[in-house]
């Protein structure tokens, strides 16, 4: 996103938010306790995860995870299977409670005002979550109701999205009977029709046909242009690199590194500057590759 876009962005409408330094430094400890610095230039701080330790009742998965996502930023959360990506997302969504640490969205956390907190997030899960007893149209109506959207505006947006994903003739169908890819499209339409400031997308490209992947990347770019933030986990790294401003590398429940591809490449000593190579290098360090 250009500086001009930043200037035009919804900053004015969000005066109450804490002003985020145009350039900030954030430090985090990697698994070797080596300190590193992340720099990026954005407007407002959207999501702030600080020293998050958590997981399931008796199983600690995340250990002191800290990262931030700014307004209009697309951040890729990547790591090997079991690194803690989905667990991190579950914590942000409020499905799991942190054992320690904090998660704030626009300076608000889940305990302060759960409804307002959730209104700021839209989620596209890896495995589609649907209501078997609702038609596609009713899923969209429920989203409008839950997010308290202006019905006319939301339907206009939904219709565009339905057309893009070729679901416009299926409004009276039960999505539970759709294929996995089509169900994923329903989840995408549901999430992208909201006005949520943060979109969390878990493995968005799984099960989608190439045309749908292309359309989704366009939608991500459009959301970015609207100054919305996106946190995305994926294993399709090259595709993600096309849209992601930064990456956070999770390893065994800890943030191993974070930054732009160039920053990560220099940190891992990898050439060419490619997220695939960085990922492989991290796996080699682990002894997994």
């Amino acid at each position: 996103m250009s500086d001009t876009d930043d200037d035009k962005s919804g900053l004015l409408a969000k005066k109450t938010r804490r002003k985020f330094q145009s350039e900030f430094e954030m430090t985090s400890a990697d698994h070797n306790s080596e300190m590193f610095t992340v720099r990026h230039s954005k407007g407002l701080l959207m999501l702030k995860v600080e020293n998050l330790t958590g997981g399931y009742q008796h199983l600690k998965i995340l250990d002191n995870v800290s990262f931030e996502v700014a307004d209009g930023e697309v951040v890729g959360l990547i790591g090997l299977n079991g690194a803690g990506k989905s667990t991190t997302i579950k914590h942000i969504l409020g499905l799991l409670r942190p054992q320690s640490g904090t998660i704030a969205l626009n300076d608000q956390n889940l305990t302060q005002d759960a409804i307002h907190y959730r209104q700021q997030i839209a989620f596209v899960p890896e495995t589609p979550i649907l209501y078997p007893e609702l038609t596609l149209k009713e899923h969209l109506e429920l989203t409008i109701m839950a997010y308290q959207l202006d019905a006319a505006v939301a339907w206009e947006k939904a219709n565009e999205l339905l057309e893009i994903f070729r679901l416009d003739q299926m409004l009276d169908w039960f999505p539970i009977h759709f294929s996995k890819g089509m169900q994923q499209k329903v989840m995408i339409v549901n999430a992208f029709m909201t006005e949520a400031d943060l979109l969390i997308i878990d493995e968005p490209f799984t099960g989608l046909d190439p045309l749908a992947v292309h359309n989704l990347l366009d939608l991500i770019a459009a959301k970015k242009a609207e100054n919305k933030s996106i946190l995305m986990t994926t294993h399709v790294l090259a595709t993600a690199q096309a849209q992601a401003d930064r990456f956070i590398l999770l390893n065994h429940g800890q943030v191993r590194a974070q930054g732009t591809v160039a920053e990560l490449a220099s940190q891992f000593g990898v050439e060419p500057q490619n997220i695939d190579q960085i990922y492989l290098q991290m796996a080699r360090e682990n002894g997994d590759a």
Binding site: I121, I129, L134, M145
Partner: protein, 410 residues
Amino acid sequence: MHKFDDLWPTRRRRHLLKQSKYLQYVFNDHLMIALIFLGGALAYWYSQRLALIKQPVWWGPLVLVPMLLLSLSVGHLATLLRPADQIFLLPAEHQLRKYFDHARVYSLAIPFVAIIAIVGILTPFALRATRIDWLNWLFILISLLRLKDVHLSLQLAELYDFDPQFKQRWTGLFWLFSMIGILIGVYGLGWLFAILTLGLTILGQSQLYKLLPARRLLWQTAIDKESQRQSVIDRFYNLFVDIPGISGKIRRRQWLDPLLHQFAGTKSAAYQYLYSRALLRRTEYGNIWLRFCLVGVLLIFVINQPLILLIIVLLFLFLTGYQLLPLYHHFDHNALTSIYPIDHHQQQRSFLKLMRRVLLIEWFVDAIALVISFRAQLWSWIIIAAGLAVVLIFAQLYLPFRLKKKQKGN
């Protein structure tokens, strides 16, 4: 290492454990009270009708024959086979004969209880409305028990690769024999029915066991039949408690859309939107409600004893509400409900509102049926007023108390 002979006792033990686990939910206190009331009401109605029969009536045997045939149809062969048996028990197929003998004997328990109970209930009617005497009635009972054993043997034979037409013929002949036997029995020749049944049992079962060893077991058919049988039982239990892997079907039921809007309201809240759709489209909820509405109306038109109708109408309203209680937790395990910015405080409010509307509609349907059936008699108004009181007490007092108790329990 387990012996093959241990297989049946082990499976039967596990099966019984599972049944006892779920039966405690079925026979919970509320349902038992409701059943006692229903049983009492029916017994009273039955005794009143019996008092009207002073001497044998021509239609007596015609009532008895279908009832006794119905008693014979209760119960299926419980083989307790599992899908994996097709692979793991295949080498031991020749040893299955003993296993199936145990299965047949075990499967007799419930049908025997059902037949004895039905014959017991019919006894006063049979002795009054027909010319049958005690002894012949006893012969009929014994014959029915023997025939059930034959019926289960036939069900066992169906699992083997006999010619399908042959199987159909057996089944047809069995029911024909049973019908004729019961008919001659209720016309006073119970002893003849007993002799014929004994002959059939000896002949049929000896033939069957001669033929079976030469036949191949149709594993898939046997496993499918057992799965269907278990699934019927699990679906029944699922009315009372959540059974893993069991969920009702979803039907669009577009014709109920006007009702959907009634239930969901115009300015609907998310939970009410969800509950109304689950109620009308999921068979495990919608069918309960529709069934109670329809059967209620039917009984109102059939029964002309106001006191019994009062009990039945109130009982049906209570049972409808009670059976729909699991709907409250229906969306608890859907992550979308937790992720969406939905006010969870509205969950109970929405549920109560929906239940009130559901029960009021049922009450309204009953009220119309009562006015048509009883005209504007005093009893109609008493039943209608009592029904409304039950709906209001249930929805305003009992339900909030019950949900609070459940939440504490969680």
